[in-house]
């Protein structure tokens, strides 16, 4: 049933298939951990358990009042109460299914030059950044996440301004790449750090540094000739 639902949603919402890996070699693809899905399901269950009494109470009251009335109000109230129940069931199932889709349709790609993160089902977000621009890597883990052994790895680039801490208000800091719910955070951190080694600059939009000195044959030969002459001058002076 879930697979059918997934097929319909993927077609209906036009969710594109797996993202193209960014340029670079040594591609490594990380996925969210299974335990992270468990964690999200627990959160979903708690939410459902809290919402259920409200819905059942409301629809129960409606149906109960409907039974004591007669004629049109009775029918209307009973129908409304039943509809409320159906809506609740559908909503709960839908939230569960999107949770699972969100878990399955999530890719963290790391090459030796850049990383790409794709997440989201309804609102799709694909983020690409190069290692040359990375400023900071951090690992976060809350108490419940620790219980499940999952962590979030955050990779930041320069800039940002407000909005960094205001998640949930719809304003997301776009300078942060989230590896949400991974169980090998240390491995990812070490990988990113190892690949960052190659970049010694500040990562603030400098042009790719050209090495000092000439790049053409004649230029290189001229430098060599100058060096040779200076060497000769030094050795002759020594006599």
């Amino acid at each position: 049933m879930y697979e059918g639902f997934k097929g319909v949603v993927v077609r209906l919402l036009r969710v594109p298939p797996e993202p193209e890996p960014p340029t670079g070699d040594k591609l490594e693809v990380f996925r969210a951990a299974r335990r992270w899905f468990d964690y999200r399901r627990i959160v979903w269950l708690i939410g459902t358990l809290i919402a259920a009494p409200l819905f059942f109470g409301a629809s129960g009251t409606l149906i109960f009042i409907g039974q004591n009335e007669s004629g049109l109000p009775s029918i209307a109230m009973t129908t409304f109460g039943l509809l409320l129940l159906i809506a609740f069931a559908l909503l709960t199932a839908f939230r569960y299914a999107t949770l699972r889709l969100d878990y399955e349709l999530r890719w963290y790609m790391v090459t030796d030059r850049s990383l790409r993160i794709r997440e989201g089902v309804v609102m799709l977000r694909e983020m690409t950044l190069t290692f040359a621009n990375i400023q900071e890597i951090s690992i976060q883990q809350g108490p419940i996440q620790r219980l499940f052994g999952v962590q979030d790895v955050l990779v930041r680039t320069a800039g940002g301004g407000s909005g960094g801490q205001k998640q949930g208000t719809g304003l997301v800091d776009m300078h942060v790449a989230h590896f949400r719910g991974v169980d090998n955070a240390e491995a990812i951190r070490d990988l990113v750090r190892a690949r960052l080694e190659a970049y010694k600059d500040a990562g603030l939009g400098d042009e790719d540094d050209a090495e000092d000195g000439p790049t053409d044959l004649v230029g290189a030969l001229e430098v060599l000739r100058t060096e040779m002459r200076m060497l000769r001058a030094v050795t002759q002076r020594g006599r």
Partner: protein, 161 residues
């Protein structure tokens, strides 16, 4: 899709107006404000991709123009909601290191978003091979190595003398 086609992009796709229409419908009574604003935004929106960077301008009363050079791009986001995907659109949000949390340039309303993302990405710093690292065994690099050796010898000799 090659560069010349991207350099030729100037106007957003007409589907952007449809998207704006649906969005202003969703704002309920706000449609009377949102629709004209978005209509003028759509009709004045111009893009320019050139060798150095992107330029985007719009507005009829209050005009705005944003310029970003490729080398200063920090990260690129490709985002799309359901409506956008139905219309074959997506936002290419380009971030620089300036202070704002929102994207500096949000290229919207183009159906070639994947190609544009790849185009911008290819021009970001850090994508190409690192200068110097790829020098390899060319004659120039060998000569430069020799020159460095000679310099070291010269400095050693000069110290001794």
């Amino acid at each position: 899709m090659d560069e010349s086609q991207i350099f030729a992009i100037e106007r957003p796709h007409p589907n952007l107006m449809k998207l704006y229409f649906f969005r202003s419908l969703l704002s309920g009574p706000g449609i009377f404000v949102a629709l004209p604003v978005l209509f003028f935004r759509y009709s004045t929106l111009r893009y320019r991709f050139d060798a150095q960077g992107i330029s985007m301008r719009w507005g009829i009363l209050f005009r705005r123009e944003v310029n970003v050079t490729y080398a200063r791009i920090q990260d690129i986001h490709l985002t799309s909601g359901i409506l956008q995907r139905w219309l074959g659109l997506a936002d290419v949000q380009v971030q620089t290191a300036s202070g704002s949390a929102a994207a500096e340039v949000a290229i919207e309303g183009l159906q070639e978003y994947e190609a544009i993302r790849d185009f911008l990405y290819a021009r970001m710093r850090g994508v190409g091979p690192k200068a110097g690292a790829a020098a390899g065994d060319s004659a120039v690099s060998i000569l430069r190595d020799i020159a460095a050796d000679v310099r070291a010898v010269r400095e050693a000799v000069a110290r001794d003398v």
